[in-house]
Symmetry: C2
Subunit: 358 residues, 2 copies
């Protein structure tokens, strides 16, 4: 099995810490390691570094390689431009086909959080066993713990017999992010799982599925494939990739394909979608304050705040529900619960051409 880390994200929602040059997966917002380091180190016990590919943007490749010296530089695939997950996965599948026409690929987002690493490794190994015959597209499903409107859902169908050591189910349907009422209805049935965005399949299987459901993108990939190894490779890839439409693998393939299966597992998973999520995931003191350096927090009647401030004392007096994030050149203070509006700050900065802060 090969690991393919999708590291194309920009991470506007984590401004001011995330920037054009430093997207979310390259940040250590949840601990000592960056999210991509966590992602890679999590699978190293079952996939050696020479079998791990990372797809990323040119602007991030250098820092990414610095953070992951164990990954051979040749394994870092640079997308000419971001086109969502379908083209990215197609490009990785092409690259793997050259190495091994029977390759099974485990696709992992670079910037998610998983608490139970060992369970993930067992699930990936089980998924490899299921995917090896090339007949299915395997997903990892998370039993939902609340009616999230921020995640997609997988509707679990009948059990599938498989050679894997874990339970595997057919997927009856795949649902986009629901509204709150719909999410509650999903949970009440007990049949829905969060779509973790982790997929396991043979490279040949996903390329065949793209040929059927995304023929335009597949055609582009074939153009790139033909140019590979010729002097025109870079130019063709650049031109063709730019011409592709941006579409997710979920919307482009998974929602249509009939051979999708799921392995459910309670991974302690989060897509780490916003600063609000960071507060939820962080360890907090008795007053609900989550400080990066708790010994540098002095609080009087302060509750439920997130303090992402480094190298300085933070004193809070009578404030609650604040997300406070400081970098060398910017200080953000956002009401907890509305961190999606941080995007508006980024929009203003773009509009004002304050590029140094982007």
């Amino acid at each position: 099995m090969y690991g393919v880390i999708m590291a194309g994200g920009r991470g506007v929602r984590f401004w001011p810490m995330s920037r054009g040059k430093r997207p979310k997966h390259l940040l250590d917002i949840l601990g000592a390691k960056t999210l991509i380091q966590e992602t890679v180190h999590r699978i190293l016990p079952i996939i050696p570094p020479e079998r791990i590919l990372i797809v990323t943007a040119a602007a991030h490749a250098e820092e990414l390689m610095r953070q992951l010296p164990e990954i051979p530089p040749a394994n870092v695939l640079v997308e000419p431009v971001g086109r969502n997950t379908a083209p990215c996965i197609g490009l990785a599948a092409l690259a793997l086909m050259k190495k091994d026409p029977d390759a099974v690929m485990a696709l992992l987002p670079a910037d998610h959080r998983i608490d139970h690493d060992d369970l993930l490794r067992r699930m990936l190994s089980a998924a490899e066993a299921v995917a090896a015959d090339g007949s299915t597209l395997v997903t990892i499903g998370i039993p939902p713990t609340f009616p999230s409107t921020g995640y997609g859902y997988l509707e679990q169908g009948d059990p599938k017999t498989s050679p894997a050591a874990m339970a595997v189910y057919h997927v009856r349907s795949i649902r986009e992010k629901p509204d709150y009422e719909q999410a509650r209805a999903f949970l009440s049935t007990g049949r829905f799982l969060w779509n973790s965005g982790m997929f396991i399949w043979k490279a040949s299987t996903i390329l065949a599925a793209m040929a059927r459901w995304l023929p335009d993108i597949h055609g582009g990939l074939m153009d790139i494939d033909r140019a590979m190894g010729t002097p025109e490779a870079t130019g063709v890839t650049e031109r063709v990739y730019r011409g592709m439409r941006a579409i997710s693998i979920d919307y482009g393939v998974m929602e249509k394909a009939e051979n999708v299966v799921v392995i459910p597992g309670d991974l302690g998973w989060s897509d780490v979608g916003s600063w609000d999520t960071i507060w939820e995931l962080a360890s907090k003191d008795g007053q609900g304050n989550a400080a990066r350096d708790p010994e540098w927090l002095v609080a009087v009647d302060a509750q439920d705040n997130l303090l992402q401030v480094q190298g300085k004392l933070v004193a809070l007096v009578g404030v609650r529900d604040l997300l406070v994030v400081e970098t060398e050149d910017a200080l953000l203070i956002c009401r907890r619960g509305i961190s999606q509006d941080i995007r508006k700050i980024v929009d203003i900065l773009e509009h004002k051409k304050m590029n140094g802060y982007l």
Copy 2:
């Protein structure tokens, strides 16, 4: 007339900007100049620098002289220890008596704000004319604009005939900081003025009043006076001053004396008591946000905040009524309206012996 600037304050309420080494009057919290620079520059048109004395603590003398190069170093009197205003004023009166037994002194707190400098100068000149015969203790009274519970009040009595070009009144009583109901009652009479803490009198007059109302302190001052010019001067001053009780001139003399008069004037005055006051005094944008550097504030649905942050972008999302103060080593976020509780942060830091932040 001599100017005597009282610069003994510690300014805990302006933490983290004010520190042991940098009290409020040495800070530029209201503009380009520090409060003591404003105070001195305000009276320079009527009192030359060689006639301006400043009483301060040893720890602040060097920075003070750096900020006020026009003041002769010999005019900076160092208090061995802070003992509130009565001993401080007595020490300055002694020093002036040596220079000029007929000296009139204008006492000015170093850390207040005054909008109408020219009016103040005219009031001080009028006060000098009143005080010159040595019969009265002249105060400056401010017509109150709201029922403040943070200021003392002067009860205005009958007009007094005087050689001054401005109206002068007897003071019927002096009141400590009232509670809210009492403050409202004061305002409804139209007879009460805020006690600005600015006093004008002959050095000999206040020393005589202290001999009567504060005989213990006056006795100590006489001990110091006798030692002046002898080899024991420093040692005696140090020992005697430390032994004095701390008491304000208002409580120790003014509330008891019968020869207090007042010149009222709408000076646009504030004692600049807290970060809350700074927000009130600061110029604000249409949303009530007062930023030190407005061009570095990016706000989305943010109202009535104070931003004392330098050299960095501040982004606010959905927050209101915050006092945000940042220094190189500390970040304070305090709910507006309760900035008196910043003292509790300082208490915690003292208790934890985090002296670097004090």
